[in-house]
């Protein structure tokens, strides 16, 4: 092992320790990040439809809808294995505030957690006030370990399920879960491309810009209040703008002329790394978001772009074509200690450093000239191709728990957005309409 690799492993260990200290439940967190971590078998006995639980659309009752969303969230958590209770010999006869008699059999049948609840329009309140109760039964302690009671308008039914799913993940791992996270992306409207934000599962899309031209490659601020992105002012210059999601207010961060692309805020939000060609060709710069001072990070005749911060904020992965075709490089956040990371193939680009620090995802061109997702460890020792087949895959972005990637692909014809596990399993399409959806960026967790 080289000296550099030793330093890197040390860095990973210290990041891991820091993360454990931050999380509220260090003991269970350790369990969940062990390589041999076994998913916790969890059954959902049902979310019972109570009075007035017809959804506004009338077809699916609200309890049933919440149950469906909850099941999908639990499955995607990768913390739990969603089990079908009847096939485990558990026949639920009654769902109330107390655990059903059948739950006692669950432990011996290998089920660790049973979740159930009820949802309906709250009696004596406005007719749109939805109430949901959820209960969690732990077979190990043979008791109800806790529950939640949510109220809100029927329009937040999905959010109730997402929030309950995240509470489950938090209870068993100490991590916040990803069910309430968002994905920012670009969607085509006519000949324009505008910024949108949707829930992590593809629902609830919201349009953020309406400029009538091109807005590209959004990235989140670490506090999830802002997006930074490239905008074509007057169709001729590429500036880097920031938009506040709650208000739609916009600021121009970089307007230097030339190419100004691929902005990325550091994990502490104190620096913006970006690529600009205003001094000739695309180089990387670093803007201090407090003092507004700009520091140039790269100096060569080739294109340098797509900076992605390590979780510690001490290093950057980026794309450079200084050796011919684009390849992934690493450097310290001050521009020193540059070294090439990828050597396989003649085209590797769009790096995305995992929030856990252990992988860098990127777009690799295969020998068949297909553009697919690959991952490589930051020491370059191990690399894997995650996707195969037709279609151009682009713009990988990690979930904040480091267990999933979101990316765009033309595998089904038009560019749409897909989710995949970090090990290449469970490919799932999450956008279905429109002529073009691309450049997904997964929000931090809350």
């Amino acid at each position: 092992m080289t000296f550099r690799a030793v330093v890197f492993v040390g860095l990973c260990v210290s990041i891991g320790i820091a993360w454990i200290i931050e999380s509220g439940a260090a003991d269970v967190f350790l369990e969940a990040t062990r390589p041999d971590f076994q998913k916790i078998p969890l059954g959902i006995a049902g979310i019972e439809n109570m009075g007035g639980s017809e959804s506004p659309e009338g077809r699916v009752k609200l309890g049933t809808r919440i149950e469906d969303v909850l099941k999908a969230d639990v499955r995607r958590s990768l913390v739990f294995a969603l089990v079908d209770l009847p096939s485990f010999g558990i026949k639920v006869s009654h769902l109330g505030a107390e655990p059903d008699a059948s739950f006692k059999q669950a432990a011996e049948n290998g089920v660790s957690v049973i979740v159930w609840g009820k949802a309906g329009i709250k009696s004596g309140s406005k007719d749109t006030d939805l109430s949901m109760d959820g209960y969690v039964y732990d077979t190990g302690s043979n008791e109800v370990v806790g529950g939640k009671r949510y109220v809100g308008s029927t329009s937040v039914a999905r959010l109730m399920a997402h929030r309950f799913a995240d509470e489950l993940v938090f209870r068993y791992t100490g991590e916040p879960g990803i069910a309430r996270t968002k994905i920012a992306y670009v969607s085509e409207l006519g000949t324009a491309r505008e910024l949108f934000v949707m829930d992590y599962d593809g629902y609830e899309p919201r349009q953020l810009t309406a400029d009538g031209f091109l807005n590209l490659m959004p990235r989140w601020s670490p506090d999830r209040r802002f997006l930074v992105f490239t905008t074509y002012r007057n169709r001729n210059t590429q500036d880097i703008d920031m938009i506040e999601l709650a208000t739609g207010k916009r600021w121009t961060l970089v307007a230097q002329g030339g190419l100004n692309i691929t902005p990325a805020l550091s994990p502490d939000g104190k620096a913006l790394a970006y690529s600009s060609s205003h001094e000739g060709n695309a180089e990387l710069y670093r803007l201090d978001t407090h003092t507004k001072a700009v520091q140039r990070l790269t100096t060569n005749a080739a294109g340098d772009l797509s900076p992605s911060w390590s979780p510690s904020g001490r290093e950057l992965a980026f794309t450079s074509d200084r050796n011919g075709g684009p390849q992934i490089f690493l450097m310290s956040a001050d521009g020193s200690n540059v070294r090439r990371l990828t050597f396989d193939g003649d085209y590797n680009a769009a790096p995305a450093w995992s929030p856990r620090g252990n992988w860098i995802a990127y777009v690799c061109r295969t020998p068949k000239k297909e553009y697919k997702l690959c991952v490589v460890t930051p020491d370059g020792q191990k690399h894997l191709q995650l996707t195969t087949g037709l279609g151009v895959d682009d713009s990988p972005s990690w979930s904040p728990d480091g267990r999933h990637l979101v990316f765009s692909s033309t595998v089904d014809g038009k560019s749409q957005i897909y989710m995949i596990n970090a090990d290449g399993k469970d490919l799932e399409r999450i956008t279905f309409s429109g002529t073009h959806n691309s450049a997904p960026s997964w929000s931090p967790a809350s």
Binding site: L208, Q238, A246, G434
Partner: protein
């Protein structure tokens, strides 16, 4: 259908009515510059200084607590959720604050289309020819040199015209790297025009990468149309 299209359907329909460019109608997708002067004025000094100076400090120390989980409870108290909004979770309450939903600003889209069309008309009447590139390449071919000699002749005989060179790429490759490749193509075209005697200050470049394709099929004949240096006569003031 997951993504409710109701909010932007009118805009899409409007654009369809105005004419979505087919592969052959390339000029509808070309750019323009009529707003450049106003834009420079609106930006004030920021363009010269390089960066905007008034944007908020984005530094972040710790998670926002307002949206954080409260944990399971044996006797749970009522938790009110509001607005499944954008993810900006610092507005109080346990829900998400509502994101601003941009109004489908048909005014902006219509203005952009009108300006693009004006440039299209000017460029067609000038008889400008585009330059096509091979896969991965930004070298100008012999055919491209031939096209550019005619373009240079037009530029020299129209010394008050401002030409914009758009660099375009096919859909293969990443969005980000194709923006760099598109700029290399546009600059290769500009440099050759300068070699042919066109005044450099009459030329500007912009890269659209793979974001404004002339043709959207996944075929080589379509890809080859999209690997292009597209010349446009600026019609703005």
């Amino acid at each position: 259908m997951k993504m409710s299209p109701a909010s932007y359907l009118p805009l899409i329909l409007g654009v369809i009515v105005l004419g979505i460019p087919a592969c052959s109608k390339k000029a509808v997708r070309s750019g323009g510059d009529t707003q450049a002067l106003q834009g420079e004025m609106a930006k004030g000094g920021t363009a010269k200084e390089g960066t905007g100076s008034s944007f908020p400090d984005t530094s972040f120390s710790g998670r926002d607590d307002s949206n954080s989980l409260r944990g399971l409870d044996r006797n749970p108290s009522e938790e009110r959720l509001s607005g499944n909004g954008s993810g900006a979770g610092n507005q109080g309450g346990t829900g998400h604050s509502n994101a601003v939903i941009a109004k489908a600003d048909s005014g902006a889209a219509a203005r952009q289309l009108a300006e693009i069309r004006a440039e299209q008309v000017a460029s067609v009447s000038a008889g400008l020819r585009d330059v096509f590139f091979t896969y991965d390449s930004f070298s100008i071919t012999d055919e491209g040199r031939h096209a550019l000699s005619g373009d240079a002749e037009w530029a020299r005989s129209n010394p008050y015209a401002q030409l914009k060179i758009e660099g375009h790429c096919d859909e293969r490759g990443t969005s980000a790297y194709n923006l760099v490749l598109g700029e290399k193509r546009a600059k290769a075209v500009r440099n050759y025009l300068v070699e042919l005697g066109v005044t450099p200050t009459h030329l500007s470049v912009v890269s659209y990468g793979k974001e404004r394709p002339f043709c959207t099929e996944h075929t080589e004949s379509c890809y080859s149309q999209n690997r292009r240096g597209h010349l446009v006569v600026k019609t703005g003031k």
